[in-house]
Symmetry: C2
Subunit: 719 residues, 2 copies
């Protein structure tokens, strides 16, 4: 949460609004009236039409003069309910004479209508010019808290749901970016002969609304609807403010240093206790022990079991309190109902982290059991992973604290999943693709440790180059965004957000009791945080595998070199789908390419070297593209021929790329391999040598490159 | 092309329009004036505002009375250029008195303005009420010919490109479907308190425009813009008609019977000649011979080579004219420049089909060489496949007429590709997945045989259950749609249209010189034809593999049964993404499921049987869903556990599905397998036993089911 501005003006504004809100609460209301809304708007500099009460005709003329354009006059009388019927309203008045005449007509008409009416004066209101109707608002999202929304009015918002969201408060730049984030953004720049609207004024309205709800969390909803955007400004024709009932629950917050300290104990322990360790095959406490021992964990492993003297050759303890020396992690493999008591002993032993594998907590409706465990953890300052998880892997520590099969391929990818099934899919995929992993963590019910803790740790972890997370909800969207923003500067974060769709969200509800918000809010805010959102499970896994392999691009110019014209077309499609820019090849480079390819080949981009070419043509063109500093990334389309067989292509490409890298040229290269089954081995060879390659697919290699570009852009490494 | 309507009224309409067009042409113009447009509109019953010339005030009143609502009066004088300046226009006139007074005012004012002006009368024009602006139009697409377009006016069309297209002419139903095919369709049904528009009137405008351009192909463009749609009607405020310069090239047309006869000779030949057969390894003529011989083709194989006596143990002929007996197919493996002469001999020999493998024709700029070949083919009535192709496979005939590696897995999938590289990817994918194939055909430059010919043949071919085509352009979009519509009734067609995006379309241009049209036109019209469009190469391949495995669903109710709640959420997301309907489980069925699953499992849909369940739970719930007639399709989410290992799940599922099928219950079942690498074998087992299953993916199984549903819907097999 941003700190409030501390200028005298800002303080006065807050005091003014606070006074209005006190009055509303005192009145037992939760909705502000229009005049109250106007007071709030004025305090925060939210532009609304000028208005004022004129007690006589000269005041009316003066007010109209101050507003400039045409005005509306309305009678102000506690006795006149229907102003128009009484002849008490006139619109479109311009100039002193007009205003003067209308003032007199109104007063005369109202007197005729009701001679006894008390007349307090005439309200003079600036008449808004015709313009583009837009909506600016703020809502309180269950995941992200205060969120500002912007959309184009009418059909665009109501039918096409063309709205964009950001965490409040927004900076001026962020507010401006919102204007470009709606599909119909072009409208604001002027279409069909209409002039562009005043973007700064519009962005300013968004920024001020975001400031208002940030300063006053009790405002559940603020709506400026419509805002009339014109080349001259963007006043809100109407402001609506609703106050919340009750107050939000505050989750315990840890500092970055505290998180790092706990996560380091968890992920790099020197000593682990297994509560419920067992000799009995088939028991979770046995699988966990076996995986810890067989996985080769170099630290101490202490089985805890009141009924055993030793387990898998390790001395067993009746209670964790009997374990000698410091213990970093207590892994629980006992039934849910015994967890709280055992956790208390863990706390008394001073163990800082607990891994709660057991299920049978909130996910099965046993919320009370979970609350009890959380209370114990808070009492003793224990950080808790789970419950309801498969455990976790920390391969660089040879640590498999899980009941699943061991996994020991060390590498740069850190993965987490909220669900056990997805965790198993991560494991199988990683094993079959040989993906090197720095961590696989089950988060389950996330009673405490969640994605933001992991992001902080993985962000600092020197083994981790890419983070991929499956999640169904976020317990604290703001903490996640905060952690993500820090981490994205250093390494890419891929998120598979399940429950994207309405039907999906319903399933999430029944699964974890998670409050799945509107997916559009998630989508906009995850993007705002610089996170790469994977459209599906397989995509998340493939991105996680590919991103650490690819160097970071230094610019936007993507070049396609293909032996198959047909692949070239599909690769171009994929580039556009992934927001990549096909380089406009300069004439000299074009000519250079043409020197290597047959006269009927096509230069331009894609560069079609044609199908029957020998290895030398692939090699020369790839080298040329790698060594030209204007080219920033390479997409290769290989076509299986007897002239250049798959492994020949793979080896030459790997060699040319390695030579370039040795020469300090480190550009991302991806490849699509079209051919018979030998291309599978060729793709694996390329992947192992720093080129992201897929057989039978033009989409996957380009999607991986697209993900890398999205991250590079979010991290500010492009342009 | 639909035949023109043959009623006296239709004939009169055509004559009236023809007369207008003659006059326009005679005048040396290609654009119609507003009055000419009005004449055309009137002839075809396209509603425009009523208007007429009143020579006196009584006529003006009578006209206004006939139109009903408010009218506009405009002076008609050859001497008055700026009517408004002369006081010659009055708007919003209602009732006889108003019209009468305005008529006199106009005439008097014009007389004052220019006493010498000749006044021919006053035009009385119906004033259109405010309403929803929409656009109805027709354009001439290079691929599809006359195409009607419909969109909502203003920003929606111009900024969001919210337009939909259909082949002209459209039926009333098709026209109506267009109203629902724009994103903002809801607007027409009434939003924000607005009433619904007169859909029938609007659809009728579309239908009539489509009829008009069908009857008059020389109309390059017709635009009704805007049409003002209200609850009372949908008159066009403006009609704009542009005539084309020149006439379109007409491709030779073959009847269905002719196509089937040729394609049968091509795909099921008894005798094949290889022009340019060779003993020399590395030559295409050698590869083709070898593949034909090694592939086990049971018919005659005749090598033709002037310099050899026998090749691969077969007697060789100096000329194809020397080959004894009938020959069905001549496969060419000689350089491009020799093809025309050799084709002439093929023609003289009476061989009905030629397969032109050589490249070096239009794709390398040698259009003249290709034109010459096409001319020879037309002279002799030879149907030509290619040139610039890898050849073709017809596995059920053990026929590999290609220079690529042989492929012999017989099965139900027919594939074609425009590009050789994609053909190789098809081959590799099919081999690695063990996909059974009925044909793989390279189309290359499509100088003659193209997708519509193949669709006609595959539609009738009893071995083919699913057709998948990669294409970059269509030579004749209408012929394709016609063939597709017939074939889709019987079997699904999957199309990968390359050059979807602007960048992609540019690449297509440089590759084949194909005129890639606007992708939205392709998208709408392929959908109109009932074709399943694959978003990418891998998707096309996976759909082709999966669709024949899946039975056709009989209704919309999809049920998800999952052991992993996390998969359930992702599977739900995927269902929504693919337009599938998650069944609202009736209480009795819900209760029935709950009897098999733990109390903390979730019934509803997804049905979460929870993670630790034994095989019996999977079995009982899958059986229950299969045997309940209200359930139409099943999505399974498996979670790898020691209690139910992957192969145990695969075998039990295959068994339960087989039992149901034996009992006449034939529902599509797909499965997502989350687990360690053993799930790969389990997925393969399931696929081989009629369940479309994927490891590490929740998207792919549901996408396959979605494709099957799209086909079933297009084929009219649902509801």
């Amino acid at each position: 949460m941003a700190t409030p501005e501390d200028t005298p003006e800002a303080r006065r504004a807050r005091q003014a609004v606070a006074a209005v809100l006190r009055a509303v609460r005192a009145d037992g209301r939760s909705a502000l009236t229009a005049p109250e809304g106007k007071l709030v708007a004025d305090a925060y500099g939210i532009t609304t039409p000028g208005e004022g009460l004129a007690e006589d005709v000269d005041e009316a003329v003066a007010l109209a003069d101050r507003f400039g354009g045409p005005v509306v006059l309305k009678i102000v009388s506690p006795d006149i309910l229907h102003k128009s019927e009484a002849g008490g309203v006139e619109v479109g008045l311009t100039g002193a004479a007009d205003v003067r005449a209308a003032f007199h007509r109104i007063v005369a008409s109202v007197r005729r209508h009701d001679p006894g009416a008390r007349i307090e004066g005439v309200q003079v209101q600036q008449m808004l010019p015709p313009g583009q109707e837009v909506i600016v608002g703020a809502v309180t999202d269950p995941t992200f808290g205060k969120v500002v929304a912007f959309g184009l009015g009418g059909v665009l918002v109501e039918v096409l749901k063309d709205v964009t969201f950001r965490l409040a408060p927004v900076s001026a730049d962020e507010a401006d970016s919102m204007l470009d984030s709606v599909r119909a953004a072009q409208v604001l720049r002027g279409v069909r002969g209409a002039p562009a609207v005043d973007r700064r004024a519009l962005a300013e309205q968004i920024r001020r609304v975001s400031r208002l709800v940030t300063d006053f969390p009790e405002m559940a909803e603020v709506d400026l609807n419509p805002v009339i955007a014109t080349p001259e400004g963007a006043p809100a024709a109407d402001i609506r403010i609703i106050l919340a009932e009750g107050t939000a629950v505050v989750r315990p917050k840890f500092s970055r240093a505290e998180i790092l300290a706990s996560m380091n104990r968890l992920m790099r322990p020197r000593s682990v206790a297994v509560i419920g360790a067992s000799e009995e095959i088939g028991k979770i406490g046995n699988s966990v022990m076996r995986n810890l021992v067989d996985g080769g964990f170099a630290g101490d492993i202490h089985p805890v079991n009141p009924k055993a003297d030793d387990i898998l050759g390790r001395k067993a303890y009746r209670s964790v309190l009997d374990v000698p020396g410091d213990v970093d992690v207590a892994v629980f493999a006992i039934p849910a109902r015994f967890v709280a008591a055992a956790l208390r002993e863990v706390g008394r032993k001073g163990i800082p982290t607990a891994v709660l594998i057991p299920s049978g907590f909130a996910e099965t409706g046993e919320q009370a059991l979970q609350d009890e465990v959380v209370a114990v953890a808070q009492e003793f300052g224990i950080r808790v992973l789970g419950p309801n998880i498969y455990g976790y892997y920390s391969p660089w520590q040879d640590l498999c604290a899980t009941f699943c099969t061991p996994y020991d391929v060390k590498g740069p990818v850190a993965l987490s999943s909220q669900s056990g099934g997805i965790g198993m899919a991560i494991l199988g995929f990683a094993r079959t693709t040989g993906t090197g992993v720095s961590a696989i963590v089950g988060l389950g019910n996330k009673s405490d440790v969640d994605e933001d803790d992991l992001l902080v740790y993985f962000g600092e972890d020197e083994h981790t180059a890419c983070i991929a997370m499956h999640l169904e909800d976020l317990k604290d969207g703001r903490a996640f965004v905060e952690a993500a923003r820090e981490t994205v500067k250093k390494k890419p974060i891929v998120v598979l957000k399940a429950g994207r769709t309405e039907a999906g969200a319903r399933a999430a509800g029944s699964h974890t009791g998670a409050l799945a918000g509107d997916d559009k809010v998630y989508d906009d805010i995850l993007r705002q945080a610089g996170v790469i959102r994977a459209p599906g499970l397989k995509d998340m896994l493939e991105y996680a595998r590919a991103l650490p392999v690819l160097p970071t691009p230094r610019g936007d110019n993507v070049v396609i070199i293909t032996g198959a014209g047909g692949s070239g077309v599909l690769l171009s499609d994929a580039c556009v789908d992934n927001g990549l820019t096909l380089m406009d090849i300069p004439p000299d480079l074009d000519a250079a390419f043409m020197r290597h390819i047959p006269p009927f080949g096509a230069a331009g981009n894609p560069i079609d070297i044609t199908g029957g070419e020998p290895p030398a043509t692939y090699e020369a063109t790839i080298r040329l593209a790698l060594h030209d500093p204007r080219v920033h990334a390479l997409v290769l389309g290989y076509w299986h021929t007897i002239v250049t067989p798959p492994m020949v292509f793979a080896e030459l490409t790997a060699r040319v790329v390695a030579e370039a890298r040795a020469a300090g040229i480190d550009k991302p290269v991806v490849a699509s391999l079209a051919g018979d089954t030998e291309v599978e081995r060729a793709a694996a060879h390329l992947f192992a040598h720093g080129v992201v390659a897929y057989p039978y697919s033009t989409e996957e290699p380009v999607a991986a490159l697209g993900a890398k570009y999205r991250w590079a852009r979010a991290a500010g490494l492009l342009d």
